[in-house]
Symmetry: C2
Subunit: 424 residues, 2 copies
């Protein structure tokens, strides 16, 4: 009967009905004997509408003022939610990020949380209130300006408050039922996981799963705050994300593999005819880094002995493709390559599971499944608990389905595939 932090996204509070439904859920949690802190996002399309207004008055809205503008969105939803709770006969108070003590650096539009000093929240709870906190926003430590946390910021607010208040759990309410073994829109037989480790969740988040952002999971792992991802519509238990399975939740029997993720938001650039000598790769990726572009996978072909030339390929977000091509073209004489090839018809499929560390055969099964599905592999990269491949974008769906089946993750499988021995 401790403290619970709940986070509700914009789709859960899209209109007055949604706000009233969420208010009832919050009151139920309070009635069950918990202290409740709620983090809320802006209603439905509010943020998009505010961005649209900003674009009408200014081609490139300034950082400080853009943050001031966007934070109006949570101000509206949190005040309405507090009113709705009071109408149900319970005390509630809303707090801005600044009032809640969410202290950040001064990088507008994508600030990082430096500290959380939730003195006012603690007082409000002690006085019997439900505390409603604006997600996605904070106040800068040096200038006391309003900041926003960038994409997925409200989830991060929730986890940060849960850590600062030593909450039992951080419940992330969303419009899906939890974390699935694959995207249910691609794999009909995808299963909802009851539990997934922080480690596996981090790999899924960084390889295409959109339920939780990497940043939020990383924060939760650092402070060991269990996350419960669940639907604000169904009321069903969702997926626990934590170090160990919570009491009463049995992880999938023998599961070596947590899930299969995919990502079609990346493009591939190939630098053709690079002299195969020390320092060439460094020159290429310095040019990319100077343009502030993040890259994902990198592969260098075996050099052709006759020419002494090689090709280097890498993947990056499509949104940054144009900028990267420009940066490389500018550096062509310095680097000394023959040509650039840009390809945005690719997709990435990743297999994630801490079990693969100690189970041989995972890699073989993975490639066999792809081969049987007739999928050609263009790039490969691995971490200790993940294998990723790049394919044609049209192959992504059959590839994910084939791999999901091959590892016994389909909901009609009796059990997941089990390997013996060590290594993979």
């Amino acid at each position: 009967m401790g403290l619970v932090v709940q986070k509700y996204g914009g789709s859960s509070v899209a209109d007055a009905e949604g706000i009233k439904r969420v208010a009832r859920r919050i009151v139920d949690t309070k009635k069950a004997g918990h202290q409740v802190v709620v983090v809320v996002s802006a209603m439905g399309d509010t943020t998009d509408e505010l961005i649209d207004l900003a674009e009408q008055v200014s081609p490139i809205p300034a950082g400080r003022e853009f943050d001031m503008l966007l934070t109006a969105g949570e101000r509206i939803s949190m005040a309405l939610l507090a009113m709705a709770i009071k109408t149900l006969g319970h005390e509630a108070q809303s707090f801005t990020g600044s009032q809640a003590g969410v202290i950040t650096d001064s990088v507008h539009n994508k600030a990082r949380i430096i500290d959380v000093t939730p003195g006012r929240i603690r007082t409000a709870l002690d006085e019997g209130n439900i505390a409603i906190v604006a997600g996605f926003q904070g106040v800068s430590q040096d200038k006391k300006d309003i900041t926003t946390l960038g994409r997925g910021g409200s989830d991060t607010t929730a986890v940060a408050l849960a850590a600062a208040l030593d909450a039992e759990v951080c419940e992330i309410y969303t419009d899906v039922d939890g974390v699935f073994t694959a995207d249910p829109r691609v794999v009909k037989k995808a299963r909802k996981m009851e539990w997934i480790s922080f480690e596996d969740m981090l790999e899924l988040a960084s390889s295409g799963s959109k339920v939780l952002l990497h940043r939020c999971v990383e924060y939760a792992r650092r402070y060991n705050i269990p996350i419960h991802v669940r639907s604000s519509f169904s009321g069903l238990p969702g997926t626990w994300v934590s170090n160990e399975p919570p009491q009463g939740v049995k992880p999938m029997e023998q599961a070596i593999i947590s899930g299969v993720s995919h990502d079609t938001s990346e493009a591939k650039i190939t630098v053709v005819g690079v002299p195969d000598k020390p320092g060439e790769a460094a020159t290429i990726f310095r040019a990319i880094a100077d343009a502030e572009i993040n890259i994902d996978m990198v592969v260098q072909n075996v050099s052709a002995a006759a020419t002494g030339l090689t090709d280097i390929s890498f993947t990056l977000p499509k949104a940054e493709g144009h900028k990267a091509m420009e940066a490389l073209t500018r550096a062509q004489t310095v680097i000394g390559f023959d040509a650039l090839r840009y390809d945005d018809q690719i997709g990435k499929i990743s297999l994630v599971g801490a079990g693969m560390k100690t189970n041989p055969g995972v890699t073989a099964t993975f490639f066999e499944a792809l081969s049987n599905a007739g999928v050609n592999i263009e790039l490969i990269s691995t971490s200790e608990i993940r294998i990723s491949v790049v394919t044609r974008v049209d192959d992504v769906k059959p590839a994910v389905q084939a791999v999901h089946s091959a590892f016994g993750l389909d909901s009609d499988s009796d059990e997941a595939v089990v390997y013996g021995g060590t290594g993979r």
Copy 2:
């Protein structure tokens, strides 16, 4: 070339075009060599839309949360305005009421300003910024909660900041050209005044003129801050409100009368058959006061000798009529009256001018004008510089027109009527 505070109302910043137009005007003021502080209201219908949302989730929205909600409106307009100014190549920063140091009491929805500590505004100005401040809002001294100032709050914010920053002038931009000798919708020949004294403006504001609220003028008078009321659309000079006419502005020649105002928002209650003995009126108005109802005019008829009974009539806002009738009905046995009459078909016409203190004949001319127009008078009340009468609501328009003409205020008059002697 000192500091100028400008206030723009919701109709001036109703859309992106309006915001850009206002931004250009602000930049022009800055270019003329002034330091500029801008107070801005919420865009167009934003506040009404937020109130509508609140009513959808809660029948009686709670004070603290209602203020949190409404203040989102100015947050949006001020951030957009700052962006629009930066797009024009000038530095601007927006500040909430709290950041601007607008300290209030804790009466939510109609807080009073206790103090203004505009340290951050001063710093922003010294760094070369145009400072944009959210109107209508502040932060409570004791609880540090967000408050709103109630009706006309943004004008009050502007005057309060002008006082705290020792501004040369507080410019109130609105959708009319200034203060007129009568409502131009009623009197086609009404004239825009170049100047009006605080004293006369206070009387006009409290007797039906809606250009400036009494509260804002009172604040300006206390700190001797000249107000310049003008249109954000026309760019023409408007009306100065101050102790003395500003240099270069000649007040209307010999004007004894500033203007004629009217008010059709009140109702009249008559308490019939009240025993004419000491303490009766007190009992009636204690019942009204206990119901937190403000009354305006009060008249007691001469007692009928035969019965020893009298009638007492008073006026009050129509919106509070129902509550007053209930309060009096509950107190009927205590007060001992015969009946109550409620009449909402009344109007009030007021003649305002400090000149009437020293010019006899004003009252006579006023009543002659009403008589010639065939207007019957139901109640009369006077202050040192104002005469008000209550008539049938249908008589308001001809009465205002007749009085406006009789005092030579029509725009085609050669000059205003002049009286000699003293007293009236």
